[in-house]
Structure formats: C-alpha cells, structure tokens
Amino acid sequence: MNNLIGSEGDSQRTLYPYVTGTSVVGIKYKDGILLAADMGGSYGSTLRYKTVERLKSVGKHSIIGASGEISDFQEIMRYLDELILHDNMWDDGNSLGPKEVHNYLRSVMYNRRNKFNPLWNSLVLGGVKNGQKYLGTVSMIGVHYEDNHVATGFGNHLARPLLRDEWHENLTYEEGVKLLEKCMRVLLYRDRSAVNKLQIAKITEEGFTISQPYALKTFWDFTAFKNPTVGAEGSW
C-alpha cells in the first residue's frame, strides 16, 4: 500500500510520454471499418521517426490504431498477441470479436490508470464479426465509447466536425477513403506533429488489408499567400 505513489515506485511509472504518434481517425462504412493514421513518431518537437506503423490487425476480426506513446502501444500489442494466442489455443471454432477486444483494452487501460501508471495511449478499435460492424475508442484514463466515427488527439477538434457533417450510413469504400483523406489533409495543414505519409487500414468480413504508405496532395497557391503584403509593403 505504501508504494502507491511512493518514491520507490516513481522510476517505474509513466509520468510523461516521449515518442508519440498523433491522431487516428476511424469510420464505419458499408462493408466494414476504415482507419487512417500517419506514420510519424515525434520525439517532443522533433519529427524523429517517419515509418511508424500505428495501425495493426488484432486476430481475425479487428484492427487497432493508437496515438500517444509508441512504446506503450508496442506493449499493448504484446498483451493483445497473448490474448489472441490463448483464444486460439482453445481451438473451439470461436474467436474474439472487436467488442470483446475493446472491452479487454478498456479494462487494461482503466486498471493501469487506477494504479497511477497509465499506458499513455488513445486507442481506436474497429472490426466486423458475423456481419456486425463495431467501432470504438479507449483513452488512457479508460474513457470508452463506440460510435460511427471516432478520432483521437487533434482529430477530435479538426476531424470530428467534418465527420459529423459528412458521414452517413452505407458509404462506399471510395467515399470512405475520400472522407478520411479530407480529414487527414486538414490535420496535415493544422497539426504540427502530422507528417505527410499515411496509411489507411480496412477490415471487412473477408479480412484485413492495409495500404502502402502514401502522401496527400496539398494546395498552397492562394493569392493571399503569394503576396500577403500587397498594399502595405514591409508589414507582415
């Protein structure tokens, strides 16, 4: 009991994140779930790593996207791999669906938070099982919910308004990707820790696919950008 927030336990507790990933955006579409995340791992204000895969598949039915501390995400993947392994060892024809995985993650995150040693991540968990689509999110303090569209980090402020306006039931794959790209483009313009190298992951009843990394087109040719001090030479 005396080691709860004691001095001896401090070196083992996560106090602040070091290498972080920025937002993840996810939507439900006609055939399943689409997640988008860029491949940046920032070390404070430096964009240190530019090939960090923040979208991974979990078992046969789910995909997970993480923002926040990358090492904690790797730890979470170890926990999930063990979970899926034990599930397979039962060899009973049943497999954990996205709802179950989401619940497991929620427990893990909340319990770590109660011990003042959180896994410093915001996770997006999506999947399809038996035709049922599921998309949810868990934060580092255990806040969890499911919805038709979710986002973490800056995505909450920049992507959510767009998703609330433009998401609708039965988006096709192309429409879904276009909507995600729209959100990722705004994030690229306005989030300082975003990099222009993203992946989009898809999960349907058939299985999991993840795109090759690619870059978005940006537009910088507004006339006001070209000549901002017209009429007031020398100002800024």
Binding site: R164, D165, F222, T223
Partner: protein
C-alpha cells in the same frame, strides 16, 4: 472568425456578426471582391452563457469591420478606440481609411500591453488598394490570410474552411461557406452557440446580416401562450368534524408556572 479572400479586385467583405464571447468563434471569408466575416452570438462567463445574442462584429470605418474574440470588454474597447482614431485620421487626411492603418493602430496598442489586453481580432475591409483580411493576436502579431478563424471554435471552423475553401467563390457561395463554418463552431464547440451573424463588405457597400441564421430556436413554444383555467371545479363537499382532544392527567403534579 474565419475569413477568406479570393481576388483583390472587387473588394468587399462580409462580416458575419461575431458574438462577444470569452471565447468567440470568429470566421471570416474573403471573397473575390467580397469580404465576408461571420461570427456566432454567444458570450460566456466561464461555464455560463451570459449573452445569447450578442454582437461580435464591430464597426471600425464605413469600409472596415472587425470581429473580436477573447475578453468582450477588451475587444469592444480596443475597436472603439481605434475606430475613433481612424475617424480623426479621416478628417485629417480627407481620405477613406485603409485596412493597414487600422491594423497598425491595433497591433501597436496590443503589443504595448504585452498580451494583457486579451483581444484576438479578425480585421477585414476594402479600401483603395483592394480587399484585405488580417488576424491580430493579443500579443500584437498579425497575419494576412485568405481565410482565418479565431476563438475557441476556430478549429472546428478551420476544418470546414481548409476542406471547402477555394478561390473564385461568388457572393452567395461565400456566405454559405462562412455560415457553414460558423455552424460547425456552434454545434461542435461548447464556447460558441446561438445564431450566425454575417457581414458582407464590397467596394462602397456593406451589408450587415444580423442573425442571418438561427439554427437554435426555442422549441415547444405555444403560440397561444399558456393559460390556466380560473374556475375551480367542486368535486365533493364533505364536512368532517374535528375531534377535540382532551388530556386527562390523574394524580399528576401541578404544572410549572
């Protein structure tokens, strides 16, 4: 406020009314020849909505309007002060005020107060040199932009602008875009709400569209008002005699006086 500029020739901008807020969502759009600014109408005092329908778009000159986010008193006072200075300057020079004049007056005032005057402004106008749109931050830095947003709802509004803005929007498309951006702030940000004000400024003309959209009406209002029937209906008359309670104390002490 978010503002977007397209082309400098026609000059004109529309201002959407901004509501004074602790955290205002301001948006303005500059259109080719049009300058449109918009604002919501919510003023907050911490978690409480102090004014449901305030005016956030301030007059600076007949051809220059300024939307203010931040502390309402600061935005009001600083815009009034610069507006007076501009008027005196107009008398002195005999010419129409220029946007950069207002910009310089505002930024030097705010800088000298080192950020303690908490006014984040979106300044727009059309003068002889064309349409201009600037943002001014409380510490005194300024930007010149095709579109801008300020305030707590600025990210929600900026998301709309970044995805939908393009050059060459006409007047109505521009107004629609600004209104959409402000609505994004109103519905996705807690510090913004109520109605949308729009101001459109073009060369020689300005149009102040107060409460251009009211997407938050009061529901469940009875037009007839509420009436309660004055007659009281008698359902039953029954007389129940009250029994008198008599306490008989035998052999007790006398009462204390």
């Amino acid at each position: 406020m978010t503002a977007s500029e397209s082309m400098p020739h026609k000059g004109g901008f529309s201002f959407d009314l901004c509501k004074r807020n602790e955290m205002l969502a301001q948006k303005g759009l500059k259109q080719p020849g049009f300058l449109k600014t918009g604002a919501d109408t919510r003023a907050t005092e911490g978690p409480i909505v102090a004014d449901k329908n305030c005016e956030k778009i301030h007059y600076m000159a007949p051809n220059i309007y300024c939307c203010g986010a931040g502390t309402a008193a600061d935005t009001e006072a600083v815009t009034d002060m610069v507006s007076s200075q501009l008027k005196l300057h107009r008398y002195h020079t005999g010419r129409e005020s220029r946007v950069v004049t207002a910009l310089s007056l505002l930024k030097s005032h705010l800088f000298s107060y080192q950020g303690h005057v908490s006014a984040a402004l979106v300044l727009g106008g059309v003068d002889v040199t064309g349409p201009h749109l600037h943002t001014i931050y409380p510490h005194g830095s300024t930007d010149t932009l095709p579109f801008a947003t300020m305030g707590s709802g600025s990210l929600a509004a900026m998301a709309i602008f970044e995805s939908k803005y393009r050059e060459g929007l006409c007047r109505d498309e521009g107004i629609k875009l600004v209104a959409e951006a402000i609505c994004s702030g109103i519905f996705n940000d807690l510090g913004s709400g109520s109605n949308v004000d729009i101001c459109v400024i073009t060369k020689g003309k300005q149009e102040y569209l107060r409460n251009y959209m009211s997407p938050n009406p009061r529901t469940y209002i009875s037009e007839k008002g509420y009436s309660f029937s004055k007659k009281t209906e008698v359902l039953l008359t029954k007389i129940t005699p009250l029994r008198e309670m008599v306490e008989v104390i035998e052999g007790a002490d006398t009462m204390e006086e």
